[in-house]
Amino acid sequence: MTVQTMPMAKALNAALRQAMLDDPKVLLMGEDIGRLGGVFRITEGLLDEFGEQRVFDSPLAESGIVGTAIGLAMRGYRPVVEIQFDGFVFPAFDQITTQLARINLRHDGKVNMPVVIRIPYGGHIGSIEHHQESPEAYFAHTPGLRVVSPSNPHDAYWMMLEAIRSNDPIIFLEPKSRYWPKGPVDFARNDIDLHATRIMREGSDVTVVGHGAMVSTLLAAADIAAGEGKSVEVIDLRSLSPINYAPILESVEKTGRLVVAQEAYGSVSVGSEIAATVTERAFYTLNAPPIRVSAFDTPYPPASLEADYLPSPDRILEAVDRALAY
């Protein structure tokens, strides 16, 4: 039986384990990923199985972690780096954007950077500042990086395997609020490319797109909408850079209406990009302007306000109704 039901956290752990079995050059590094197995336990058991040569705790310095991962990649290794929380990736921002993202280009493709940077991201966990952020826009704006985020255990498993096999640096955003809900994982069959968007639910009135944890919110909204007689098509972006537009454009061709949802700040965001590009490419088929549903353009608030801050099914439905009102 190749299909098993498990939480995303375990699917990611299984993918890391498989990748290390497949390729002895794969290394895991980061803060507390060894003995502790990471604060979210994604690397649990891997130190014992693969030893300190391949799974090692780093000194507490994100720039140092990414900078040394770059050196290891130059040497032929394939480091998979864990950044402990979304809000702590910024000390490594220089190494990621001015070095990791460009070394392949500087070497005319002769020195690749097969580095995966895993970042547990997003809100809904009621934590303190810097522990619930959605930094995808910073990376999606940066040439030389690929940015992906799974919404379910099956994708998490296969996307991680593909990301580690890729010869490009990949920002792998793990929706931490989805670590524990269970879902099926087919370990035998991968049905879709790392950078492909996926239709999660068919519909005819409005197209809604999102990624990571937002996808479950969109599906919940679509259910409610169905009860109100509105048919919502839900698309999981999966990849934020590059973005696979064809399925989105096809869907909009059908619905004429688009809602883009994200936990990130709305201004200068991936949502802005999708709205602008779909407008450019599907101007005549749009019956309404693409509508964005985002967090507000404010830092993540105290946890007691997060329900007001983050897009909820109701906020999605409000946008769907606005789109339908045109």
């Binding site: 000194p59 000390p91 303190i128 507000f296 830092p299 997060e306």
Partner: protein, 366 residues
Amino acid sequence: MVQLLDPEGRLTSGADAERYGHYISALDDHTLERFWRDMVVARTFDRSAANLQRQGQLALWIPSQGQEAAQVGSAHATRPQDHIFPSYREHIVGMIRGLDPVKILALLRGVTLGGWTAEETNRFHQYTLVLASQTLHATGYAMGMQLDGTTATGNPESDEALIVYFGDGASSQGDASEALVFASSYQTPQVFFIQNNQWAISVPVARQSRVPLAQRGFGFGMPGTRIDGNDVLASYAVTRDALESARAGSGPALIEALTYRLGAHTTADDPTKYRPAGELEFWESRDPLIRTRAFLESRGASAAFFDDVDGEAADIAADARKRSLELTAPDRSVMFRHVYAEAHPDMVAQEAWLAGYEASFAEDAS
């Protein structure tokens, strides 16, 4: 390693006692008893806050058990005009400066993002959660003291200095080293106080450094001293000495307090996963409260005194607990109001949008 009070609570002799003893002999009974009282308050408040978290009343708690001597001694070494830049574990340091502990609980209850200003707390600045970033803020602040001419005038009663706290793990951050560069370069009036509690979550200090962190400043031109961080007298005297020379214009200094985190990193952590067998027991036998109590007893402190302190500490913890339970989510508008100091059209528009959106449900309901 400077130790003035041994694990049995006896005053030590020797060079360190020679050099720093006068700071201790200058302390009256009342002050020494105050040290004890603050250590007990810290321990008691910590236990009660951890319970609050277990009962789901806090998102998280950050225990400080085991580090009371390092924190209480160094806090009392500051003068009223001094500024303090904490990390996130120095609850008792703030309380000693007058911080209402409920404000710490509010932060960890998800009710505020900061909760206090240095003005309200006799110069105890906010916690900073991005490791080591506060070391640079402190250095810049100390540069400001120099520009203001409120330090190194020769008057210790008014000359300012500051202390910044960080951990053994944070010492590896580039920001911590850059703060040493800037502080040495500008000869700022500041003390870098590293609480080496042996662990950065699950990572032992050996991963961060193979030599004592007290030496970290040497290559930046900064003197460093390692102290027994479980000795409240050493923490007081050595910090006092460093602050006095900083305020006198002799430049910055670094102190490494060798201590131990007896609890979990946070209530989300499980130390049994990484702690070697016996380590906890060893450090429990080195509990800073044990030696401090023994010392005071040897000086004749009465059982009644200890009972009174326990009672007072319990009251403080109970009161903070009670008031924290009354803390409710702030009004939604706080999300928008202070993102900018000056008027900002997007904040006005987004706050209005949210208000209208919420109102629409009220209408639906009615």
